[in-house]
Symmetry: C2
Subunit: 310 residues, 2 copies
Amino acid sequence: MAASAEQAPAAAAASEAPSTLIIDGKATAATIRAELKERADALMAKVGKAPGLAVILVGARPDSATYVRMKRKACEEVGIADFGVNLPVEASEDEIVAAVRAANEDERVHGILVQLPLPEHVNEMRVLSEISPEKDVDGLHPANVGDLALRGRNPRFVACTPRGCIELLHRNGIEISGKSAVVLGRSNIVGIPAALLLLQENATVTVCHSRTKDIEARIRDADILVAAIGKAHFVQGSWIKPGAVVIDVGINSVDDATKKRGYRLVGDVDYAAAKPVASAITPVPGGVGPMTIAMLLQNTVEAGERALTA
Amino acid sequence: MAASAEQAPAAAAASEAPSTLIIDGKATAATIRAELKERADALMAKVGKAPGLAVILVGARPDSATYVRMKRKACEEVGIADFGVNLPVEASEDEIVAAVRAANEDERVHGILVQLPLPEHVNEMRVLSEISPEKDVDGLHPANVGDLALRGRNPRFVACTPRGCIELLHRNGIEISGKSAVVLGRSNIVGIPAALLLLQENATVTVCHSRTKDIEARIRDADILVAAIGKAHFVQGSWIKPGAVVIDVGINSVDDATKKRGYRLVGDVDYAAAKPVASAITPVPGGVGPMTIAMLLQNTVEAGERALTA
């Protein structure tokens, strides 16, 4: 953690615009994980029980298996009990639903996460709807999204990646209220909940997508830009409003012969070109990415606290 | 209905900009109500049952009583059975919840509407959450709002006023996809669901509110403006983009000594000044207003069709 925290100022000092804040998601996530470990320890000391997470993995896609392994390792470090379930790729929709229902019933489990994508023969929407809204740590259940959309209601859970974006803004002292926020993309897991969160924080919010005309002009208007469209380097540096805050959710691989593995990961924003223009920017990797798991852990610890100290 | 339909072209012809379409909500609502009567009749012919609506009124506020009377009369005309409940103003929250639950259980009831506002001693959110999402004809239940927000899900019900706004656009041949839509206001009953609907229709959507800076510039950018902030004549004519479509949801009373009752109703937009600039505009009254009840009836007939022909 200390090492990561030190990287940020060093990187900033080397850039053309020394005043640009490089938002260090890795360091922030490490701080949050340390805080969560304290909360999990305090819960254990108080009630003798740990927050519990059930990650349901169907099949053995290498990428999904990697994500699940990372999540389980992170749980262990924080002190979250792991009730993971691995089902074979041939598992029927009913078998997956049965696993979800068993986790709904299990008092030791406070959070349930179904790793996506599910195999093609499975109706994802049906499976996700089966997760109890009380244990929906991914924040994708319609009841929780509805509570996020409506004023005066508090969703039990907010989707991890957009929650991570807002947390990065808060922890870096970036004001949201009254700002012009532009969200690129309207996916269920990032764009839509990010827009609803920014609205809740009193930003003036515009949602852009594939049908948006003159998207460049929209982006140029953003005090805060959240890019989540999954197109490598889509946003050019010249499109950024001087002084804007750039939150880059994209993780795209582009060919790179200089790398041993033949590719590198880049965001939706042309980082090198945007950095000198922005007042703050998240790198890829090491920006929003590490926050997603941190927020999953946070949602789980909060669910455990609610269930065990109610 | 015929008379109303004839009023619209006459009004347009007399205006300074003869090409401005005056969107006649009264006529459109009458058309919809006639269509719904046919659907209710067809349902009766097919299954021998009518769609049923339970309007729950607590207390005797004159405005609420008037709205409820209008809704009940409209139901009768369309052929919707009325299972209305009137509770005294002293009714406890538990008594109101009990009335909602009885309507949830009643197979003859396909739609439930709790007339707002409820008396101050009652937690509105709790009461509204008790309405079964299957019977939530007001479209305000978080589960239905969540389904509206998420792509790939179809909400059983969409809030009546915003649904009415979109219906006015559709029935007047106004294209939404790719347009810049600006929603003024972020209320649960209009602004938020209107924004989500416009996004679903592929508009680029901006939500403005009391914290928005330079709201005039935002409005000037709108191809489609939905004004729902409840401030009389807030939007000036000079703020309208030439050729924009203006949907005015506001219903505000302003003093008017020339009127017998001493006031008149006006929208959030300065209609006289905006009309020559806009390509289409809703008047107040007679624009969005009549559509709200028409959409309540439509939500109820659809709920009846789903329940009785499933």
